[in-house]
Amino acid sequence: MAEKPAKKARRAPAARPPRKPVLEVAGLTKRYGSRAALSDVGFEARKGELIAVIGPNGAGKTTLLSILAGIVRPDEGEVTSPAGSIGWVPQQAALYRRLTVAENLRLFAHLEKVDDVQGSVDEMLGEADLAERRDDQVSLLSGGNQQRVNIAIGLLRQPSVLLLDEPSTGLDPRQRARLWEFVSGLAGGGTTVIFSTHNVQEAERYSDRLLVLADGEALFDGTQTELHRTVDKESGRGRAKRDFETAFVDFLAHRGH
C-alpha cells in the first residue's frame, strides 16, 4: 500500500511496517439503486494490524465489511486475501439465544468443519473468558458477554483476518474495556483485526490505523498522528489546540461532510 496509495487516502509512507499484506482491497464500489453505498474504496491490511473503519452512520462501514466477509458482492473492485481465512462478526450478535454458549460454539464449529470441535470450543471459551458460563443459555447473558460469544464464533477457524462490525455498540464502559482488551490481545497474537465504529475516541485509542469513510468514500487512510497533521495543514492552526474528535470533525467538515 505504501507503494500504491489509494486515490483519496493520505498518509505518511514511512509509517507502514514492511510486512506483506494479508488482505488487499482495490476499487470497491457498491450501489443500491442510484445510491452508492461504497465508491472506489481500496486499502491493504498487514498481519497483526488493528484497523478502525470510522465514519458516521450510513457511511458504508457495514457494506465494506460485508463485502470483505464475502456476504455482499461488490459491483466493482476486488478483495484478495492471500493468507488464511477471514472471520466475520456481524453488527448484531448472530447467536441462537435458546442454545447455551457451548452449544452455539459447538454448532458453528461443526458447520465450519473445524478439525477438533471440542478442543476449539474449549479454547474459545477460555479466550472469551466464558468457561464458567458455558452451559448458560445465551438469552441469559449480558450484552457484553453475548458479543464475546459472537466474536468467539468468528474466531473458531482461527482466521488471519477478523472483521468486527461496530463491536462495542450497546455495551457499558466496563464491558467495552474488556472487549478492547480481548481484541488487542488478538492483534498482539498476530490476527489482523478490522473493526468499524462511529465512536472517534474508540478509534483513536484502540487502533493502529484509521480508514475514514463518509458517504461511501474513503477520505483518509493512515495513523492518528497523520490525521492530526493533515488537519493542521488544512487549517493552519497548531495541533495542541484541539482533541482528536474535533480534529476528525474538522477533517470531515473540510471535505463537505
Partner: protein
C-alpha cells in the same frame, strides 16, 4: 445440515410451551373437526310395529329372506321403538315421542310370496310421520323410503330370477315341481323339433301340413322372443344390483374422509407453523448471514427446514392417527401409502411454511401469517360443491388447487381407503417445487 437439524430440534425442546402448543393445538382442532364431520345427524326415533307372525319364513324362488336380519339392519339406521299396536304407534307419533312409525302388515309375507309367483296385489307398508320438525320428518321419509327401495330391489331381483327360471322351462323344457308333484314340461324347443319331424310325414300342400307349418313358425318365433326376453330380464336385474351397492356404500368412506381431514389439519398446522417460524428465526437471530457465508447455501437451508418440517409432522400425524385408531377404524394394512401421503403432504406444507417464513422474516409475524392463511384455506377446501353458487365454487376450486390442503387431504383419503394416490401426489410435488422456488426468492432479501 445434520447439525442444523439437531440445533432446530434442540431449540424446539427448549421451548416446551411452543412445542406443546404445536402438538396439542392441531390435534385438538383435528379431533374437533373430525367429530363435527363424522357425527352427522342423530338417528331418528321411529316406532316399529311388526304384525307379521313371528318366524314366518319368506322364500322366493328358493331364496330364503332373512327377516330378522333385515329388521336389525333397519334398526341400525334408525332408532327403533317397539310398539305393540297401531293405536300405540299413532299415539307415539302424535305425542312427538317418535318422528314416525313404520307398520309391517300381517299379510306382508303372504302378499310378497304372491307377487313372486305372479298372483295378487303387492303388499303395502304403512308409514306415519310427524311433520312437526320438517327437517327430521324429511330424514325419516328418506331413510324409510331408501330402506323400502332397497327391499324392493332385492325382492324384484328374486322375482325376476323366478320368472327367468319359468321362462327357461317354457323354452327348453324340463321338470317342474308343483304341490309336491312333478310335471314334465315339454318346452318350445322340443315342441318345435317334434312338430318338424311330424311335418315331413304329411303330404306336401295338404291342409294339415300348412297348419303344422304355422304352429312351427309360432313355436320358433315364441322361442326366439322368449330367449330375447330372457336376456332382457337379466339385463334389467343387472343395474339393480349396481344401484344397491351405491345405496349401501356410505359409511366406510365417511370414516376415511373424516380421518383425512383431521390428519391433514394436523399436518398443516405443525408443518407450516414450524417451518415458517424456524426459517424466520434464522433471520431474527441474525444467523442467516453467518450460515450462508459458506456454511450452507440458502437452498440447503430450505432443504434443512423441509426435512425438519417433514420429520416433525410425520411424528405428530402418526401420533394423531394412532390416537384416532382407538375411535375409528384405520386400515393399517395400507401403512406404506399412509406414510407416503404424510411425507408428500408434509413436504408441500413445509415448502408453503418456508415461503411464509421467508416473506414474513420474523417469528411472530410468520406464525400469524401461517394461521391467517392456513385456517381459511382449510375451511375453503372443505366447502362441498353445491352449497355455494357455481361461479364462487370455481373460484374456490382454483384456490384449492394453489394450496396443499386439498391435494394433501385427497392423498390422505386415498391412502386410508383404496383410492388412487398418483394424482394428488403429483399435485403435491408440483406445489412443493413451486413454494420452494417462492421461498428461495424470498430469501434473496433475507440477509
Amino acid at each position: 445440515m445434520r447439525w442444523l437439524l439437531l440445533k432446530d430440534l434442540q431449540i424446539l425442546r427448549r421451548s416446551p410451551l411452543l412445542t406443546a402448543l404445536l402438538v396439542i393445538y392441531p390435534i385438538v382442532v383435528a379431533l374437533l373437526i373430525g367429530f363435527a364431520l363424522s357425527r352427522g345427524p342423530e338417528k331418528p326415533r321411529v316406532a316399529f310395529l311388526n304384525e307379521v307372525p313371528q318366524d314366518t319364513p319368506l322364500s322366493i324362488g328358493g331364496e330364503d329372506f332373512d327377516l330378522t336380519g333385515a329388521r336389525s339392519s333397519l334398526c341400525d339406521r334408525i332408532e327403533c321403538v317397539r310398539v305393540h299396536s297401531r293405536a300405540e304407534a299413532r299415539e307415539e307419533v302424535e305425542s312427538g315421542e317418535v318422528l314416525g312409525a313404520l307398520i309391517l302388515p300381517e299379510d306382508l309375507v303372504d302378499k310378497l310370496e304372491g307377487v313372486a309367483s305372479g298372483v295378487g296385489e303387492p303388499p303395502t307398508v304403512e308409514v306415519l310421520v310427524n311433520e312437526e320438525d320438517p327437517l327430521k320428518a324429511q330424514l325419516v321419509d328418506d331413510r324409510i323410503s331408501s330402506l323400502l327401495t332397497e327391499a324392493n330391489l332385492r325382492l324384484s331381483r328374486a322375482v325376476s330370477n323366478v320368472t327367468l327360471s319359468y321362462l327357461d322351462l317354457l323354452v327348453s323344457g324340463g321338470d317342474f315341481d308343483f304341490l309336491g308333484q312333478s310335471f314334465n314340461v315339454l318346452g318350445l324347443q322340443n315342441t318345435e323339433r317334434i312338430l318338424r319331424s311330424a311335418r315331413s310325414d304329411l303330404p306336401k300342400g295338404s291342409f294339415e301340413r300348412e297348419a303344422v307349418d304355422q304352429v312351427i313358425q309360432f313355436a320358433e318365433l315364441a322361442r326366439e322372443n322368449l330367449g330375447f326376453a330372457d336376456s332382457l330380464l337379466s339385463s334389467v336385474s343387472q343395474p339393480i344390483q349396481v344401484d344397491k351397492e351405491v345405496v349401501n356404500g356410505g359409511s366406510p368412506d365417511l370414516d376415511a374422509f373424516t380421518i383425512s381431514v383431521a390428519a391433514t389439519v394436523t399436518l398443516m398446522f405443525v408443518t407450516v407453523l414450524l417451518v415458517a417460524g424456524s426459517l424466520a428465526l434464522e433471520r431474527e437471530e441474525n444467523a442467516f448471514a453467518r450460515l450462508t457465508r459458506g456454511l450452507i447455501s440458502p437452498t440447503g437451508l430450505l432443504v434443512e427446514k423441509l426435512l425438519l418440517g417433514v420429520a416433525c409432522s410425520l411424528l405428530v400425524t402418526l401420533l394423531l392417527l394412532g390416537g384416532l385408531s382407538f375411535l375409528v377404524h384405520i386400515n393399517w394394512g395400507r401403512t406404506p401409502q399412509i406414510l407416503v401421503a404424510i411425507l408428500a403432504g408434509g413436504a408441500a406444507f413445509a415448502a408453503l411454511g418456508a415461503a411464509l417464513g421467508g416473506a414474513a422474516r420474523e417469528v411472530r409475524a410468520s406464525s400469524l401469517l401461517a394461521f391467517m392463511i392456513s385456517l381459511p384455506i382449510a375451511f375453503i377446501s372443505l366447502v362441498p360443491s353445491g352449497t355455494v353458487g357455481p361461479a364462487l365454487f370455481s373460484v374456490i376450486e382454483v384456490i384449492r388447487a394453489l394450496f396443499p390442503f386439498a391435494p394433501g387431504r385427497d392423498a390422505m383419503e386415498s391412502a386410508l381407503s383404496s383410492g388412487d394416490l398418483l394424482v394428488p401426489l403429483l399435485h403435491l410435488a408440483a406445489l412443493t417445487v413451486a413454494y420452494l422456488a417462492l421461498s428461495r426468492l424470498a430469501l434473496r432479501r433475507f440477509a
